[in-house]
């Protein structure tokens, strides 16, 4: 049997009386959507090509146009349009089936909506409205509260009492990120999503990239909320709060308050932090410049030693991925800490020394487009000699929005402000583009070129690095003793895995590799604002704004950032100095998960169909 060819005749179907053209094997839902006809749906997510057909909300009534047989109900998301089909999306029977489905779904759904992180931004609430739900006959609180909640991870909470079993998280983890940490657990009413081999989130192969959070339609998946702890710090007079926010936060936060996608709201964020009572507002971009100083020096040193390739180390989900899944590649990772951690450690050493503050009073709070940064903060090797954490709290962009709302702040009502810290808030254009794929690479190339040649790169913008494919490669002429540097950039863990496999197999030939675990890089990181029924729609607009920030910046290379120059002059001496090594470099360890099972383990778990004869 051969698959249908493109020359198949036109498929004409009728939806709600309109005759429409369908594509071969197109679902009724996709066809309706393409023609502007709305069908309520929940589990399906077109942006990641996910239509498991499990929630059964998108029921429509289907008949043959000749009315030869009785109309049937069909799930529009998985039922293909066939010639001569007559679809009714809002017959009484279809509407009642849609409504009953949502009512049934609520039977074991934790409905403490007011306490939910997704309150007001929930696809289940939406769909309940869209189907006209007016009763809740089957809800049983004990059934809902008996479901699992996994709070083991410092980064994420998995609250199965709010899971609708759409399996989008599994799809993004499996096909999107190729981490494949998630499985369906249980059967019948016990069905949920869990980690392989019954492991807890913290002990699993999950790398906390948070992409699953971005696609979850409800509050079942979310970051560990730490807004209360931030408020504790803010209202504690003994504590000096130091805030930092990541390059990508300023271009991915305005939407929450009605700004167009990609608007740079750096000034508004600074103003908001001041209103909240922040003592010191710093920029992670500054630390990004510091990272470039260290990483460029490290890379040139490793190239001199003929150790290649070198992987970047800014992305904590990538570090987790390497430690969990490719521990054999750990010697290839740059030892330079991430910008978040560099800022934290400098803010607790250099800054108090300059400003005359007792470092013990300082608490560093980061605002990150990232879930894994919460996990990174707790790494045992990322603390100061006195046992203090380099970073004390991490808020995702979403929590920051929640924090502002808790304090009654609306970004639109704030007059943009500017950084005022003379030590750690200036940044170059190179630091600004850290938030998008290829940005770290480009920033490093600008500085390496200067180190090798003693002069600046003629064309500051290295356009060959700026594509958007998941895995890109380029040869960059750095000149001098270094010559051509072969680089690769991967964003998303699927392309990353592909690259890692090539390196393992010895078929990859690269000097320097930039990895960002989230597809699109930090601008679409797992800690960003959530969208409904959409995935990764905003990366390019946010990225353009980052490039614009670079272009508008008078200083475009990390080494030309005057505050960075001062840091080295007055404190660190030079990249890779003993002090820099002590404060700004780290190490990694094999944290792979041994997953062995015996047949007995498995047989004890198989709850269905154990009858042998």
């Amino acid at each position: 049997m051969t698959p249908p060819s493109n020359t198949d005749p036109l498929i004409l179907i009728s939806i709600d009386g309109q005759t429409l053209e369908a594509l071969p094997e197109e679902s009724i839902l996709a066809c309706a959507r393409r023609h502007g006809i709305y069908i309520p749906s929940l589990c399906e997510l077109n942006d990641i090509d996910h239509a498991p057909g499990t929630c059964r909300v998108c029921m429509v009534e289907v008949a043959s146009q000749d009315q030869a047989s009785a109309p049937l109900l069909a799930a529009a998301c998985v039922t293909p349009a066939r010639p001569g089909m007559a679809v009714n999306t809002h017959s009484r029977r279809a509407r009642e089936a849609q409504r009953l489905q949502v009512e049934l779904m609520l039977a074991d759904h934790n409905q403490d909506c007011a306490t939910c992180v997704r309150h007001g931004n929930c696809e289940l609430q939406d769909v309940a409205q869209f189907v006209g739900l007016h009763s809740n006959r089957f809800f049983d609180r004990s059934r809902a509260m008996g479901r699992t909640v996994d709070r083991s991870s410092p980064a994420m909470v998995r609250d199965m009492s709010k899971c609708v079993r759409c399996q989008r998280c599994i799809a993004i983890c499996r096909q999107g990120q190729t981490v494949d940490a998630l499985v369906v657990t249980g059967t019948g009413l016990d069905t949920a999503v869990g980690l392989h081999h019954g492991l807890s989130q913290a002990e699993s192969t999950c790398v906390t990239c948070g992409q699953c959070v971005l696609v979850c339609p409800t509050g079942a998946l979310g970051e560990r909320d730490e807004t209360d702890r931030v408020l504790d710090y803010l209202f504690d007079p003994e504590i000096v709060t130091v805030f930092q926010f990541a390059p990508a936060v300023r271009v991915g936060f305005g939407e929450e308050f009605g700004f167009p996608v990609g608007t740079n709201v750096e000034g508004q964020i600074i103003a908001a932090l001041r209103q909240l009572g922040a003592d010191i507002v710093l920029d992670t971009n500054f630390a990004a410049d510091v990272v470039i100083m260290e990483e460029s020096a490290e890379l040139l040193r490793r190239l001199g030693e003929r150790r290649r390739p070198t992987f970047t180390s800014c992305c904590p989900a990538w570090i987790n991925f390497a430690e969990r899944h490719y521990p054999d590649l750990l010697p290839l990772l740059s030892s330079t800490k991430s910008p978040q951690q560099c800022l934290g450690v400098i803010a607790k050493t250099y800054l108090p020394e300059r400003m005359g503050i007792d470092p013990a009073r300082i608490r560093v709070i980061s605002i990150m487009p990232c879930v894994a940064k919460k996990d990174e903060r707790t790494r045992p090797q990322l603390q100061l000699a006195n046992g203090m954490r380099e970073v004390d709290l991490v808020l995702t962009t979403r929590e920051f929005a929640r924090l502002l709302k808790r304090r009654g702040l609306d970004l639109r009502n704030l007059t943009p402000s500017t950084f005022d810290n003379p030590y750690m808030s200036a940044y170059s254009g190179a630091g600004a583009i850290f938030g998008t794929t290829g940005g770290v690479m480009e920033a490093a190339v600008r500085t390496m070129y200067r180190i090798v040649n003693g002069r600046e790169l003629e064309h500051t913008e290295v356009t060959p690095l700026r594509g958007f494919e998941g895995l890109r490669t380029a040869a960059v002429e750095v000149g001098g003793s270094v010559g051509t540097v072969k680089v690769a950039m991967a964003h998303g863990l699927g392309p990353t895995r592909e690259l890692c496999e090539r390196i393992r197999a010895g078929t990859a030939d690269f000097d320097f590799i930039e990895i960002m675990a989230c597809p699109g890089g930090c601008v679409d990181g797992g800690g960003n604002l959530r969208s409904k029924k959409a995935y990764r729609r905003n990366a390019l607009k946010r990225r353009d704004t980052l490039f614009a920030i670079d272009r508008a910046n008078g200083v475009r290379q990390s080494h030309n950032n005057p505050q960075v120059q001062a840091l080295y002059r007055d404190f660190l001496e030079q990249p890779f100095s003993e002090r820099a090594h002590q404060l700004l470099h780290t190490w990694y360890s094999d944290r792979s998960i041994a997953m062995t099972q015996t047949v007995k383990d498995v047989w004890d778990e198989i709850t269905m169909s154990t009858t042998i004869y």
Partner: protein, 668 residues
């Protein structure tokens, strides 16, 4: 013969309590419905299309509660209506049965049951409440009368059985949709666990099974059958290396005393499977094998390009992991007989001798051939030794293989690999009649085997005892006979010669002569096979059971493994209870099968066409030169994609009976 009191089937009702005596057309034949087991009348039967009540005192609410309990237990939990609907309906029926009506009234039950049948994702949810809906729609007065009794309703006896066309088609009754589900769920080790409940040789079966399941697969009504075998191989191969699923002795929950010893004769698929299940039941098992390695026909009869030896042996080694012993070089008839086995203290014996002797064609010249003539099985033994490196066989010139089965295909493809210039395959019927697996036929043809259907050997041509060719007669198909079959007959005067250097007659096999001796006290059939009772696989000698090819003639790996399981169950019953016992699920299957109750009709809602994933396979030109495995395992991504194609055609059938249905000896 029993008669229906009332019922609902395929949308039609009948009520014979009102004096009406005729049933609507198309209702199931009722022969065999009198008793479920001896002396235990069937009071009601519930299926996927309706229900039949034979005893009008049956309590419908309890009967449907049992049916919905099974649905709730077996619901995979993916789709909303079945996941929640099934337990809600079950609870509502249970409340009525206990005379404590819950929040859901009969109209509420109807609403949920209809939602399940109309909108569930798979066959389980779509069919489980059909009978209940029929009752509440057409026999509501009977249900309301039960409720009006205002006292707890009696719990009834009976059993529920969930199955699917692929499960029924599989001789081992592997729960195919379940193991495919576990792949979708991301738990291939659980998939393997489902298969290992039936037999230990999953990777072997995933390579060489003839796939009765795929022939029954309803996905073929949409596009192509699900690649069930491909997925089986995937889950088995997934479990290799350091993280492989391990067999440990703690699987044996109740080890039996040291004198509970069983001898298994033959380390083929039947023997290994039987030993595996006996070991799991706590018995002490020795496998006596004439050769020096385990696997039987799977080891010597299947070439390594289809089944690598390390794959097979990693699976036969499971016997050792469970504490079983292989005693190699022990040939029945030569080294021991059944009396000796009992004298050595074995309490029971399983005969899995196989059919090791090739059937001869019975044509002139055959018996005089001193070289260049082989039976299929003797040739495959040479192939085995050739690959093992113990004895090289180089072929040259033309090779003629006679036969159209899998053994013939294996011989033909192996002959190419051993240097034959041309390999001709001669078969007396048409190509379409060839019993070999179609994929094996296609692979042989791709590799260059020349097919000659409708030709039959009549004489072997010899020169000084060496084969130089074969005389063949053309065959033609006869008219369709009364049974709808077409035979073949020789075309007079059509004799022709085909020159060849080697002639391989791969037309059948029988039990090795001399293996079974009269003093063993085991009756043989006129074909020379061990005579058995097909229900419990007992031979004519008490305590001796048999299965696989030696009992049924040359058959498939999966049949042999199924026999091993069945015999283990019988041996356990025989040793624990002193007799073999009734198999309720086997009886239920027979009931479904004989009445054709498991319909293969198709759900009317269209399904997207998504064509199946195929094994990555090497180029035929490269393939024909090598004995290494020619197919690779599919990737994780392909496995997920293929697993999603399963439609889960589950159905639940249940009976209400007068008395409890007996089970065999309790199993670990």
């Amino acid at each position: 013969m029993t008669s229906i009191a009332y019922g609902f089937w395929d949308g039609q009702t009948a009520d014979l309590r009102t004096g009406n005596t005729s049933l609507p057309a198309g209702w199931p034949e009722l022969e065999g419905f009198d008793f479920f087991n001896q002396g235990n009348p069937i009071r009601a039967f519930i299926g996927d299309r309706g229900f039949l009540v034979f005893d009008d005192s049956v309590c419908l609410i309890d009967a449907f509660r049992r049916q919905m309990e099974m649905a709730a237990q077996q619901s995979c939990g993916k789709c909303t209506p079945c996941r929640i609907g099934a337990p809600l309906i079950r609870d509502a029926l249970a409340s009525y049965a206990q005379d404590r009506p819950g929040p859901l009234d009969l109209d509420g039950i109807i609403e949920l049951a209809r939602q399940m049948t109309d909108s569930s994702l798979c066959g389980l949810g779509r069919t489980a409440p059909v009978a209940l809906l029929g009752a509440l729609t057409h026999f509501r007065a009977d249900v309301e009368a039960e409720i009006a009794q205002a006292q707890p309703l009696p719990a009834q006896h009976g059993m529920e059985y969930m199955t699917a066309p692929c499960i029924e088609a599989c001789p081992s009754k592997i729960n195919v949709p379940r193991y495919i589900d576990y792949i979708r769920d991301g738990k291939p080790s659980y998939s393997l666990g489902v298969i290992l409940q039936k037999y230990p040789m999953a990777a072997t079966c995933g390579r060489v099974c003839v796939r009765f399941c795929e022939m029954a697969c309803r996905r073929a009504l949409v596009d192509e059958a699900v690649g069930i075998k491909t997925l089986k191989r995937y889950v088995a191969d997934h479990q290799q290396g350091p993280n492989a699923l391990r067999f440990t002795r703690d699987l044996i929950s109740r080890p039996l005393p040291p004198d509970m010893r069983v001898a298994v004769v033959g380390a083929g698929p039947a023997g290994v499977s039987c030993a595996y299940h006996l070991l799991l039941h706590g018995y002490h098992v020795d496998i006596l094998e004439a050769l020096d390695e385990a696997g039987g026909m799977a080891a010597i009869g299947i070439p390594s390009y289809r089944l690598p030896k390390d794959v097979l042996h990693s699976e036969t080694d499971i016997i050792n992991s469970l504490g079983g012993r292989f005693l190699f070089g022990q040939a029945m008839g030569r080294d021991f007989g059944i009396d000796e086995l009992f004298a050595r203290g074995y309490r029971a014996v399983f005969l899995g001798l196989g059919c090791q002797e090739g059937t001869r064609m019975g044509v002139a010249g055959e018996d005089q051939a001193t070289s260049g003539y082989e039976t299929g099985i003797s040739f495959l033994l040479q192939v085995h030794d050739h690959i093992a490196g113990t004895r090289k066989t180089e072929l040259s010139g033309d090779v003629v293989v006679v036969g159209g089965g899998n053994v013939a295909m294996d011989c033909a493809r192996s002959a190419l690999r051993m240097g034959a210039e041309r390999v001709h395959l001669v078969y007396r019927r048409t190509r379409a009649d060839m019993p070999a697996d179609p994929s094996e036929i296609a692979a042989a043809e791709e590799e260059g085997v020349i097919f000659h259907p409708l030709l039959n050997p009549t004489r072997v041509l010899l020169a000084d005892g060496r084969v130089t060719g074969v005389e063949l007669v053309a065959m033609r198909q006869t008219e369709v006979d009364a049974k709808g079959r077409r035979g073949v007959e020789p075309v007079p005067g059509s004799e022709q010669l085909m020159n060849c250097d080697t002639l391989i007659a791969a037309i059948g096999q029988t039990v090795q002569s001399g293996a079974m001796r009269p003093e063993d006290g085991v009756k043989l059939t006129r074909w020379g096979w061990v005579e058995i009772n097909p229900f419990d696989l007992a031979t004519s000698r008490p305590g001796v059971f048999a299965g696989g090819d030696c009992a049924f003639g040359p058959s498939t790996l999966i049949h042999a493994m199924a026999n091993g399981l069945q015999a283990a169950r019988s041996i356990n019953d025989w040793l624990q209870l002193g007799h073999t016992s009734f198999f309720p699920r086997t009886h239920m299957r027979a009931l479904l099968h004989s009445r054709k109750l498991l319909a293969a009709d198709f759900a009317e809602v269209p399904v997207k066409r998504e064509y199946r994933v195929h094994h990555p396979e090497l180029d035929p030109e490269v393939r024909r030169t090598m004995f290494e495995e020619v197919e690779a395992t599919i990737s994780d991504e392909e496995a997920y994609r293929e697993a999603k194609r399963c439609l889960r055609c589950y159905r639940i059938y249940s009976v209400v009976t007068e008395r409890p249905i007996p089970e065999g000896a309790e199993l670990s």
